[in-house]
Structures are given as structure tokens and as C-alpha cells.
């Protein structure tokens, strides 16, 4: 974007004042994207400031948020869903990403035999729908089928088996780990790609200096793939705070047992769409969607302006 091209551009604009083809190329995407995505998003944010008073939609300011954060009927559910959602995210960050990085590091060992096979197989669950994954694990963890107790018996841990999905204390962890099992392919692949992009000269230089094996991974490779790790973290964050399908499939819309697996996505679904005896509430649904939007926006902004800028991108 040098000044030379800028002046060239202005000459072009003078010579051809109307370039309709640009409009034709842009318009279809712009219209669909704006009409189906951006406008509904803005409208949802706007609806969160309105509520139905005497059958009429009325501007209520931040009253919906006050109800959501403070009124007994809503606040307990909301804060629990928020807390569960952060726990859900924390388990992903602590299990999915480190294991994904470890798998990627092993896959990227040069001339590793069977690497393509391992890579293809480990990525498979990522392609399955949450519905398939949810039900498969529901069956496997089911005490009726007995697959899990059987395997735990093999290693002498049978006494530790419990119907984890059915217990309020362990259900959220169990569901999070199912989600980790499914999504581990994403960090693995992105970090694998980043590791492959490290030029051989850097590795050779490290080897000349006697940096090999573990210390090479920690001191050379890991710092070089930090941008990819940042990317994976923000993708995990957005995905987790927008998750719904897996919990809906495994635990139902009520996110049982006893709401112990309720996260913002399931709370939004129940609130906005209604479930069983609960009637759908558009205003409160929009309010919860707005809170989710603000959380995701905060996370993305933190990433874009805080982390991504500071992590130096190495140009090879």
C-alpha cells in the first residue's frame, strides 16, 4: 500500500469513475451475510434492551440484565451456567490443548513411520457430529452395557467405576472429556502444521549447538509455535462459550443431572425456545445471547489486541 499505488489508484478512479463489476462481485455475499448474520445479531443485541410490558414491546434499558444477574428465579441458573462454562473451558485448555500439542510434537518427528495413519485416525472423531459422539459415549459409559467397568477391571480399577454422567459431581467433567476426545484433532492439526513450518536451518542450528530432544522442544520448537497455540486457544474459547449440541445430546435440554452440566448454550436454548413447562422468552433469550456475545467479544479482543500482538511472528 505504498503511495505510488495509491496515486495510481486515484488515476484509475478518475479514468473509470464507475466500476459496477466491483459491486456485482461484492453484493451477493454482502447481502446474505448482512441479512442473515449481522442484522439478526444487532437485532438480538437490541432486543436484550426490550421486554414485553402489557403485551407491548417496551424499552426497558438494562432491566433484563438486572433480572438475569440478580433476580432469584434467573440468577441462580445463569451464574451456575456461567461457572460451568468456565470449568468446561478450563478442562479443554488443561487437557485438550496439552495433549494435542504432545501428539503434534510426536507426529512431527521426521521420517516417523505410520505418521499419516496416526494423523488420519486421531482426526476422525473431530469430523463426527456431536450427536454421534454424544450417544456413543453415553453407551460406552453406561453401566448397563458394562464396557467401561470391563476395561477398568482389566487394570484392577473396577471399584472406581461410577455412572459418571449420572452424578452431579462428575457429569460436567465427563461431558467435558467427551468433548475433548472429539475436538483434540483441531489443536493437533494446527500445531502439527506450525511445527512442520519451522525451517530445517533453525533445527540444524540448534543441533549444532547441542540442543536436542526435550530441550530442543521446550527451547526452540514450542516458542516458535506459540502463535498457533494462541490461535487454538481462542478457537477453543469461542467454541466452548457457544457449545450446545453435545450437552443437549448427552444430558438433554435440562442439562442434568440437576442442571449440573448446564452451560450458556443450553440455558439460551431453554430460555429462548422453551422446554417442557417453561415457555420461551424472547427478551431473556436475547439477553443471554447478548451476554454470550460480550464474553466471546471480550475473549476475541483480548486475543487480537493483547496476545496476538505480543507473540512475535517469526518470518522465515
Amino acid at each position: 500500500m505504498s503511495s505510488a499505488t495509491m496515486s495510481e489508484d486515484s488515476i484509475q478512479t478518475l479514468a473509470r469513475p464507475k466500476r459496477w463489476h466491483i459491486l456485482v462481485f461484492l453484493l451477493p455475499a454482502f447481502i446474505i451475510y448482512s441479512a442473515v448474520m449481522i442484522l439478526p445479531l444487532v437485532e438480538t443485541l437490541r432486543l436484550s434492551l426490550f421486554n414485553t410490558v402489557d403485551g407491548q414491546s417496551t424499552f426497558v434499558g438494562f432491566a433484563n440484565f438486572q433480572v438475569l444477574f440478580g433476580e432469584e428465579r434467573w440468577a441462580a441458573d445463569f451464574w451456575r451456567a456461567l461457572k460451568n462454562n468456565f470449568l468446561f473451558f478450563a478442562i479443554h485448555m488443561l487437557v485438550q490443548n496439552p495433549v494435542g500439542i504432545a501428539l503434534a510434537a510426536m507426529l512431527s518427528i521426521p521420517k516417523l513411520r505410520l505418521a499419516t495413519f496416526y494423523r488420519t485416525a486421531i482426526f476422525l472423531p473431530t469430523l463426527l457430529s456431536f450427536v454421534i459422539v454424544g450417544f456413543i459415549w453415553k453407551l460406552i459409559l453406561s453401566p448397563i452395557w458394562g464396557i467401561t467397568p470391563f476395561f477398568m477391571d482389566l487394570v484392577g480399577l473396577k471399584s472406581f467405576f461410577a455412572p459418571w454422567l449420572g452424578k452431579p459431581g462428575s457429569a460436567l467433567i465427563a461431558v467435558s472429556l467427551i468433548s475433548v476426545w472429539q475436538n483434540i484433532g483441531i489443536p493437533m492439526m494446527l500445531i502439527y502444521a506450525a511445527l512442520l513450518n519451522i525451517p530445517d536451518e533453525v533445527i540444524e542450528a540448534a543441533e549444532c549447538d547441542g540442543v536436542t530432544g526435550w530441550s530442543q522442544f521446550w527451547k526452540i520448537k514450542l516458542p516458535l509455535v506459540l502463535p498457533a497455540i494462541g490461535m487454538v486457544s481462542i478457537l477453543t474459547f469461542v467454541g466452548n462459550f457457544n457449545a450446545f449440541d453435545l450437552i443437549y445430546t448427552v444430558q438433554g435440554a435440562l442439562a442434568g443431572p440437576d442442571g449440573s452440566t448446564d452451560i450458556l448454550g443450553t440455558l439460551l436454548y431453554r430460555t429462548f425456545f422453551g422446554f417442557q413447562l417453561q415457555l420461551g422468552d424472547r427478551s431473556m433469550g436475547a439477553t443471554i445471547a447478548t451476554v454470550m456475545f460480550l464474553i466471546i467479544l471480550a475473549g476475541v479482543s483480548l486475543y487480537l489486541f493483547g496476545i496476538q500482538r505480543r507473540v512475535r511472528r517469526y518470518q522465515f
Binding site: 456485482v24 462481485f25 496416526y118 454421534i132 458394562g146 445471547a289
Partner: protein
């Protein structure tokens, strides 16, 4: 060339870990498929054994095909996915071309505007999307899903495709202009064929979330006639939850097309990811 010597001990350990995780990744899927071909007794008595002549049974599949309209669900999913991908690729490539080829006022702003959707999920606008679809009379139509998925797929498609289009040689396009080709002809006849590999990558990335989505079919098109295979199997399995044969068969039927597509496209997909398309 990296000449790091890998000791046999270390490489053995690496294979052990990777093979171990491969088993963890594949075992649940294989277990489901194997048991879907067995009778009820065998499912419970010998869950880990492959089906034998005496335990082989297709009763689950019979129930699924009789009770659920899986053929119809497949058809719906296929229509929604294919049509959405077509529009994402066509409109996405057009917009990407406009953004990468021409300098005009607002180019950067437009690029940023179209990029919002990469990070902000479309689900957050569901309340108003449903309202809009009700107003437009599109609830319980596949059109509603196609519109939503097209909008959902466009931002990433535009982002990836415009990166690729910047690499198409200017000389080629200018030669076309000198030969009197219109801008439309340059796009459709010169540029599009050259970015075909990138289009394939975008198609695969777009396809997976559409095929697997449960949220929008549940909210916008839950009617029997418009159920996608993801929603259809969700509802079916929910109803037949105690019929293990039917549940395992329904799951296998839902896994099968994904497996086939993955076997065909895995190289394309993995090359797409590792080529830095989503870095």
C-alpha cells in the same frame, strides 16, 4: 534435512503413545459399528467380539429403516449441504476477488466487516434469525437452513480465497484485459480455475459444520419433512433409547457417510489445514 538420530527406545515410546491414542480415537467408533451387526444378546454378552455367523443380525437396521425416514433425512442433509457449499463458494469467491483484485474506497473496511463472522458465531443471533424466518414464512423449509449456512460459511471462505487470489499472477489477468476480456470473464475463466485447490479446501471446511449442526435444524426446521440426518438421528435415538440394536444401527448409519467422505477427502483436508489455510 534434519539428521536428528532417533534412538530406537525413544521411537518405540513414540509409537506406543501414538498407537495408544489411535486406539482411544477409533475404539468407540469401531465398537459401535461392530455391535450394530450383532443380535441383542451378543451386544451385551460379548460386546468386544466381532459379529460371528451365530450372532450376526440386521434387526437394528430393519428397525431404523422401517421406523425412521433416514433416506429422507439423508436427502435433506445432502440438499442443504451441497446447495450451501455452492453458494458459499460462488459468492465467497466473487467477494474475495473484488477484495483482492480492486482498490476502491472502503476495501479494508469491507474486508474487516466480512471477517467479523469468522470469530463471532452466527448462533448468537438465533433469536432474531428465527423471528426473521417466521416473518418470511421460511420456518420448516430447507431454504432457511441454506440461508443460515451460507451466511455462516461466507466469512472464512472469503478470507481464505482472497489470500489465494492474491497469488494469481497480475500479468495473466492483464493479458486477458488486453485481449478484451470483461472483468467477469477474467474472474470466471482465468481466476476461478486457478484457485480450484483452495475452493476444495474451503468446501471441506464448510461442509463439516453444516452436516453436523444440530442447533439450527432443531430451531428452524424441526418438522418431519425437513429433518436433517443429525437432527433425525438425535430424535430417533432419543425415542428408541432402550432398543440397543436400533440405536447402534442408527449411529452406524450416521457415521458411515462421514467415514466414506473422510477416506476420500482426508488428504485434501489435511493438506488444506497444513498448507496454512487457517493459520
Amino acid at each position: 534435512m534434519s539428521k536428528a538420530r532417533v534412538s530406537p527406545l525413544r521411537s518405540g515410546f513414540v509409537h506406543l503413545v501414538l498407537a495408544g491414542y489411535t486406539v482411544i480415537a477409533l475404539f468407540p467408533v469401531l465398537l459401535t459399528i461392530l455391535n450394530s451387526f450383532k443380535d441383542r444378546n451378543a451386544i451385551f454378552r460379548t460386546p468386544l467380539a466381532p459379529p460371528t455367523a451365530s450372532t450376526f443380525s440386521l434387526v437394528g437396521y430393519e428397525t431404523v429403516l422401517k421406523q425412521g425416514d433416514f433416506v429422507g433425512y439423508f436427502q435433506n442433509s445432502l440438499i442443504v449441504t451441497v446447495v450451501s457449499i455452492f453458494f458459499v463458494l460462488l459468492f465467497g469467491a466473487m467477494a474475495a476477488f473484488a477484495l483482492s483484485e480492486y482498490r476502491f474506497r472502503g476495501n479494508t473496511m469491507m474486508g474487516l466487516y466480512l471477517a467479523i463472522g469468522i470469530m463471532i458465531p452466527i448462533r448468537l443471533g438465533t433469536v432474531a434469525i428465527l423471528q426473521g424466518m417466521v416473518a418470511a414464512g421460511l420456518v420448516n423449509t430447507l431454504t432457511a437452513l441454506i440461508l443460515v449456512y451460507t451466511a455462516q460459511g461466507l466469512p472464512l471462505a472469503i478470507f481464505i480465497l482472497s489470500e489465494f487470489m492474491r497469488t494469481v499472477s497480475d500479468d495473466l489477468k492483464n493479458a486477458g484485459r488486453i485481449d478484451g476480456l470483461s472483468e467477469y470473464a477474467i474472474f470466471f475463466r482465468l481466476v476461478l480455475p486457478l484457485v480450484r485447490p483452495a475452493m476444495a479446501t474451503v468446501a471441506v471446511f464448510t461442509m463439516i459444520p453444516i452436516w453436523n449442526d444440530l442447533w439450527f435444524p432443531l430451531i428452524l426446521a424441526p418438522g418431519e419433512a425437513t429433518k436433517t440426518v443429525t437432527l433425525g438421528s438425535q430424535v430417533f435415538i432419543g425415542q428408541f433409547v432402550t432398543n440397543w440394536n436400533a440405536v447402534l444401527s442408527a449411529l452406524s448409519l450416521a457415521i458411515f457417510p462421514v467415514l466414506v467422505l473422510y477416506v476420500i477427502f482426508s488428504r485434501q483436508l489435511i493438506r488444506g489445514i497444513t498448507a496454512g489455510a487457517v493459520k
